[in-house]
């Protein structure tokens, strides 16, 4: 089904990806070529830090949940000492899927096929009728493990590569955006335990990653809901907006809406409410942060895309996982702020309205992703344009490239990092 147009043969001395990715254009085959997808699995999804879930999904010792890491079915477990592990859901005997339930609590897992039993750390603790193996503890086998697991503010990431940059190095400046989110909790903690909506999307994953900080589309794609609800969000992404699009490095990018909210200087405007509607929350914030509470409540939550698959859209968190070259799944949930019950209820309700398969925002984005996937299978023109704002970019006081609210600065940052990873030698 997938039409793949290949560009002119690679000039000598030029890598395939420098051929396909130009400063102002990217080639359509990047979204449609199954061989590129296979290479992305190796060089990105099986290597870099991928967002998998949140520690709050396994709050108790021996809790587990099944999660997706690219095409892998992984089990996020918390062992009895509290440490979080990511196991690959595959029995070391004959490869059966070990866990079948979506979640549970168990110190050990018993494979239903022949009864091999594993600790929730992945280590094999025994098998039935051990004489067939010459006795107990004779096999140096266990469930597969994601070799590197690390958390930041409870967000759990896994890397299938044994070595590489640390999670902190990978997150770089994007860590500060997670801190901003967490800083909206009076207790400095968020949880992602309001369940996940799972949205099947017939599109290449990169269309999603690029769209998340595309400030050019909201007025068009979301005009229908902004108009009906009188939402002020549209104006944040207009040509006169003072918001900026920032390339945070390592493929991460954000729409920094703070300049707009600072102009209004209205606490909670970003959340579409006012302090008198959530008085206990505002009081708790003042209690925790004193004079700084006002700034936090004015500036609001981040809108950041963390390469390759974690999107924090103010009060929602998205986990994007690829399935095939033309398919991915968006997992979405409502952020829950520790110590802010008034906010948490509203965030659940707003999220249900906005995201997921029937969301009044995300269903329309998803329609665009799917039409985009069909569009790029057409033969001509072969290239997608990412030059918007290239001529008006500048460097901010921290050395990051920034563009206007509607500029494609974030996409260019994404492609820069993508190319670095895809060109890296193993």
């Amino acid at each position: 089904m997938t039409a793949v147009v290949q560009p002119a043969p690679v000039a000598t001395g030029q890598s395939r990806y420098s051929q396909l990715i130009r400063p102002d254009q990217v080639h359509g085959s990047l979204y449609t070529d199954p061989t590129i997808f296979a290479e992305e699995l190796q060089k990105i999804w099986h290597k870099t830090w991928v967002f998998v879930g949140h520690e709050s999904e396994v709050p108790q010792p021996n809790d587990y949940v099944r999660k997706q890491l690219a095409t892998q079915d992984v089990i996020m477990t918390r062992d009895r000492d509290g440490e979080v592990h990511l196991l690959i859901n595959r029995c070391a005997h004959r490869g059966l899927q070990v866990c079948d339930d979506a979640s549970g609590n168990s110190s050990s897992f018993r494979c239903p096929y022949h009864g091999w039993t594993y600790r929730n750390t992945g280590e094999l603790l025994g098998y039935p009728y051990n004489k067939g193996y010459g006795g107990k503890n004779k096999l140096e086998l266990g469930m597969g493990k994601v070799p590197r697991v690390a958390s930041y503010q409870g967000f759990v990431f896994g890397s299938l590569a044994a070595d590489g940059p640390s999670l902190e190095e990978h997150l770089g400046a994007a860590a500060g955006e997670i801190d901003r989110l967490v800083g909206l909790s009076p207790e400095g903690e968020v949880s992602l335990d309001a369940g996940w909506l799972r949205h099947r999307t017939r599109s290449n994953w990169k269309f999603l990653a690029e769209n998340e900080t595309d400030g050019y589309h909201p007025q068009f794609v979301h005009g229908s809901i902004f108009g009906v609800t009188g939402s002020p969000i549209g104006a944040l992404y207009s040509d006169s907006s003072t918001a900026v699009t920032r390339n945070l490095g390592n493929g991460h990018s954000e729409n920094d809406l703070r300049p707009e909210f600072r102009n209004f200087a209205e606490p909670l405007r970003w959340f579409g409410t006012t302090p008198d509607r959530v008085p206990q929350y505002v009081a708790a914030m003042q209690e925790s942060y004193g004079d700084d509470a006002e700034r936090r409540l004015i500036e609001g939550a981040p809108h950041v895309m963390i390469f390759p698959n974690l999107f924090i859209a103010e009060i929602q968190v998205f986990n994007i996982q690829p399935v095939a070259v033309g398919e991915c799944v968006q997992y979405a949930t409502a952020v829950q702020l520790a110590g802010a019950p008034e906010m948490n209820k509203r965030m659940v309700s707003q999220s249900i309205g906005s995201v997921g398969p029937a969301g009044m925002l995300l269903a329309d984005d998803t329609e665009m992703y799917e039409r985009n996937q069909r569009g790029v299978q057409m033969l001509d023109p072969e290239w997608l344009d990412v030059r918007r704002g290239l001529q008006r970019e500048s460097i901010d006081e921290n050395g990051f490239t920034i563009g206007a609210a509607t500029d494609e600065t974030g996409m260019r940052g994404f492609w820069q990092h993508y190319r670095t990873l895809m060109e890296a030698e193993d």
Binding site: A194, H199, S224, V228, V348, P357, A358, A363
Partner: protein, 184 residues
């Protein structure tokens, strides 16, 4: 963490108790109402469909089987009357791209079962019933087969039947669902 469900009202699917089937309901009449509701949804007759609802409407499509508490966890749809109206206003703009152009749809409703009565906020008793459905949706992305069980609550105003509550439990709501842009 998250929301302490002890602080919330009872979840709406099990709130109160299931009473005896209230008097004055005829199963044929009920079926005719369900078929009409299905036809209005299939034909994207938003005005006709919206007019079926009462003021205390609740339209719920949970995930993970019967779903968790809808005020504490996410659902695909959890619309009160106000949000039903917003959803329909959006689609009427013609720029709700997930439903523009609208899906081509036909659904079959069957296994209609009167289940009991459910006390309502006005002190009356609504009829509660269940039915299975299969729907074929056709869109440019392909054909989609939807199926599940719907629990309805109906109320009579004189001779007129109105829809109070509709909970749609999709058979595949534990897995990733495609865009659900139409009225299910």
């Amino acid at each position: 963490m998250g929301i302490d469900t002890a602080t919330l009202p009872e979840r709406p699917d099990v709130a109160g108790e299931l009473l005896a089937i209230p008097a004055g309901w005829d199963v044929r009449e009920v079926e005719q109402f369900l078929y009409k509701e299905a036809r209005l949804a299939d034909e994207n007759d938003y005005d006709g469909w919206e007019a079926l609802w009462t003021d205390d409407a609740l339209y719920w499509v949970p995930v993970d089987g019967e779903g968790d508490h809808p005020l504490a966890t996410v659902s695909v749809i959890y619309d009160n009357r106000n949000r039903i109206s917003t959803r329909l206003k959006q689609v009427r703009t013609g720029k709700r791209y997930a439903q523009a152009p609208p899906s081509n749809l036909r659904r079959i409703i069957g296994n209609v079962e009167l289940l009991g009565g459910r006390g309502n906020r006005d002190g009356g008793v609504d009829l509660e019933l269940g039915a299975n459905f299969v729907a074929i949706e056709s869109r440019p992305r392909g054909n989609e087969l939807w199926g599940g069980r719907t629990t309805y609550r109906l109320r009579k105003f004189g001779d007129e039947i109105r829809l109070v509550y509709k909970k749609v439990v999709l058979v595949d709501n534990e897995r990733a669902l495609p865009t659900l842009g139409f009225l299910i």
